[in-house]
């Protein structure tokens, strides 16, 4: 066990997997000498060289498209999108190609690809360095989507993604990179894709969330515990395929649910989670299904008071949880 930052856990996962399997390689903008604009590939270029830690031209459709070709050949590419905001030029390659290769070839060809992309705001990045693109790709069958909240999950999910036989979108929250540290095993392990995780058990209300907001929920839960309100915090970890059983079990346990995410509310992952609950547990609910999400604006502005207004935080989450508990 070692205490690592979320960022180091991501880097270590790539390092370990590249040492284990020579088919694994990283490509993206500035991933080489610079080690990535956030430092997630620092040191990898020195260890593995130009070919396996490859600086690419500034062209996301090519980064993903070339990675798809290499994956079909049998490589295990990790394609880094510098910011998830800049992943959209690659949408066609990801949704029309990566997601459909196994299906359209009737299982003859496969695309074991990982696309890593930093998401989220609160970093004074303005409209285009702060977005959460989950809802664009969510609901595309053929893709898997994961979003770790802790260093343990970050490493375990990335290793699982690299070893997965299908394309996986790996969204990492910028704000967690250096802010979140935690224990990470030294030995080889994975966090299985498709399994949510109860980050805090509780009896009164259930919060279902993922990514940065997991931490807001946990902080809020500690505060509320002082007033005897016991919150269960379920970290989805995998957005696609959703862990239906874990969601239903977590809701059954308390009968009250708050769905929480930074991505804007309308059409977000939370809508599907709410729909699943409404389909299955109507009569187990003691309160309406509540959602606390980003505002429905194109993206968060950079001006400090506006970013603060947009971003969720422990206080806003606590308030919503309290409201639900009091319902």
């Amino acid at each position: 066990m070692a205490m690592l930052t979320y960022l180091d856990a991501i880097r270590l996962a790539m390092k370990d997997e590249m040492e284990r399997d020579e088919n694994v390689f990283v490509l993206g903008e500035d991933v080489g000498l610079k080690g990535g604009v956030f430092g997630t590939t620092k040191g990898l270029h020195a260890q593995f060289g130009d070919d396996r830690v490859m600086d690419t031209p500034l062209a996301e459709s090519a980064i993903s498209g070339v990675a798809i070709g290499a994956a079909m050949y049998g490589m295990r590419p990790i394609a880094e999108m510098q910011y998830s905001d800049f992943m959209l030029p690659a949408t066609n390659q990801i949704i029309s190609e990566a997601a459909k290769i196994r299906y359209r070839s009737n299982n003859d060809w496969t695309c074991p690809l990982v696309v890593r992309a930093p998401i989220g705001g609160g970093v004074f990045g303005g409209l285009y360095h702060s977005q959460c693109p989950e809802s664009i790709f969510f609901g595309t069958p053929g893709l898997k989507i994961v979003v770790p909240s802790t260093p343990y999950d970050a490493k375990g999910l990335l290793i699982a993604a690299i070893r997965d036989l299908d394309p996986v979108l790996y969204f990492e929250h910028k704000k967690c990179y250096r802010m979140i540290t935690g224990e990470v095993p030294d030995e080889d392990y994975i966090v299985p894709i498709g399994k949510a995780d109860v980050k805090r058990d509780g009896t009164d209300i259930t919060v279902i969330t993922y990514g940065l907001t997991v931490h807001f929920a946990l902080q809020a839960a500690e505060e509320l515990a002082k007033d005897g309100i016991n919150a269960l915090i379920l970290d989805l970890r995998t957005l696609q395929p959703l862990d239906r059983d874990a969601i239903l079990e977590a809701v059954k346990k308390t009968g009250k649910v708050l769905i929480l995410h930074e991505d804007n509310k309308t059409g977000g992952v939370g809508a599907e989670v709410a729909a699943i609950i409404a389909e299955e547990l109507m009569y187990d609910l003691d309160a309406p299904i509540m959602r606390l999400c980003g505002y429905d604006v194109p993206a968060m502005p950079i001006s400090p008071p506006l970013e603060k207004f947009y971003m969720l935080n422990a206080e806003k989450v606590q308030e919503a949880m309290l409201q639900l508990a009091r319902y």
Partner: protein, 337 residues
């Protein structure tokens, strides 16, 4: 051996048997294609997209490459190409009838959406030009794994205006990857003629913008196509990087069986181009050098007719996939690797 010295194909290192096989393959593709059109008109299949007029370019290229070693990323008109590298007419018939046994997609995709891992034919989709970066990815794998294969990708003139063409070519140019880009310029993108589609006179010239050679070739000249692609392959294997080849052809059929081309071009224009058909030209060459004649032609035609007849019957009779199979292979299943 005096003659031999003089024949172009021998100079190119092609045996008489090979050129005859090239001729047969062009004819086989043409006959399959014509049958496809008939089957569609007869209502036996819903849709056919034709490669008539592009067979010489495809066969010339295919024979310059190495089957089961190089990787092929064809586009929807490449019947002659895939027939040259391992696909059979039966396979193609299973595809146009959308039957379970279709090796391309198990009847999931439209005709002309090729894929067959056994033959290194990479699965393709409908959105044009997405295969170009994929081909670059295969070439990158060749470099990373130190394998001496090349990847070969085709696309149309209109498709060369997609961003993926530019991004893929530049990536390959920067890293000098062993990939051959072949544009089958048939002068139209559905109804849009070349001059409303492409800003420059020759698509081959776009290679200048990526730092590798671009060559425009008469796509009706099968031996010239062979020569140019062979050279491109040798360059690629020597580590000298990509080549862009523009095969100048003409789309003789309407865009597809859903298209009425008389809305945007004249019969005269089409007829004029039919004169340049590469198949009779090549037959004339083979007869001129004495390796082909009436009898051989008749025998071949009969064999082809038979092959297509059997394949058609097989494809027609073959079972459809089961409805529930719609739900399979979204993700790897237990036991998939």
């Amino acid at each position: 051996m005096v003659i031999a010295q003089l024949t172009k194909h021998r100079q190119l290192g092609l045996s008489d048997e090979q050129v005859i096989e090239m001729y047969r393959t062009m004819m086989l593709a043409r006959k399959f294609d014509e049958r496809g059109l008939i089957l569609q008109r007869a209502g036996k299949i819903n849709f056919h997209v034709s490669g008539i007029g592009q067979e010489a370019a495809q066969v010339g290229a295919a024979f310059a490459l190495e089957k089961q070693k190089d990787y092929f990323l064809p586009y929807y008109r490449d019947y002659a190409l895939v027939l040259s590298i391992g696909m059979t007419v039966k396979d193609l018939m299973l595809a146009i009838f959308a039957k379970a046994e279709d090796p391309n997609s198990g009847g999931r995709q439209m005709p002309g959406h090729f894929g067959y891992k056994k033959h290194h034919i990479v699965t393709g989709s409908s959105p044009v030009t997405t295969q170009v970066p994929h081909a670059v990815g295969f070439a990158l794998a060749a470099k990373l794994k130190k394998q001496n294969f090349v990847s070969f990708v085709t696309f149309g003139d209109g498709s060369s205006n997609q961003g993926d063409f530019h991004e893929g070519c530049n990536f390959a140019g920067v890293h000098k990857l062993p990939v051959i880009f072949m544009c089958e310029n048939n002068q139209y993108a559905i109804s849009v003629p070349y001059h409303k589609q492409v800003g420059c006179a020759r698509i081959a010239d776009r290679a200048i913008g990526y730092g590798f050679p671009g060559v425009a070739v008469d796509g009706n000249d099968v031996l010239e196509m062979y020569r140019v692609v062979k050279e491109a392959r040798e360059r690629a294997i020597r580590g000298e990087g990509p080549t862009l080849i523009e095969a100048i052809v003409y789309r003789v059929s309407p865009h597809s069986t859903s298209d009425d081309d008389m809305a945007y071009r004249t019969k005269e224009e089409v007829d004029m181009h039919i004169q340049n058909d590469g198949i009779p030209k090549f037959r004339a060459y083979l007869e001129e050098i004495g390796v082909w004649n009436e009898q051989k032609e008749a025998a071949m035609q009969q064999a082809i007719a038979q092959e297509i007849k059997e394949a058609t019957e097989y494809g027609d009779k073959a079972p459809f996939p089961t409805p529930e199979s719609t739900l399979r292979h979204v993700y790897a299943e237990e036991g998939d690797i």
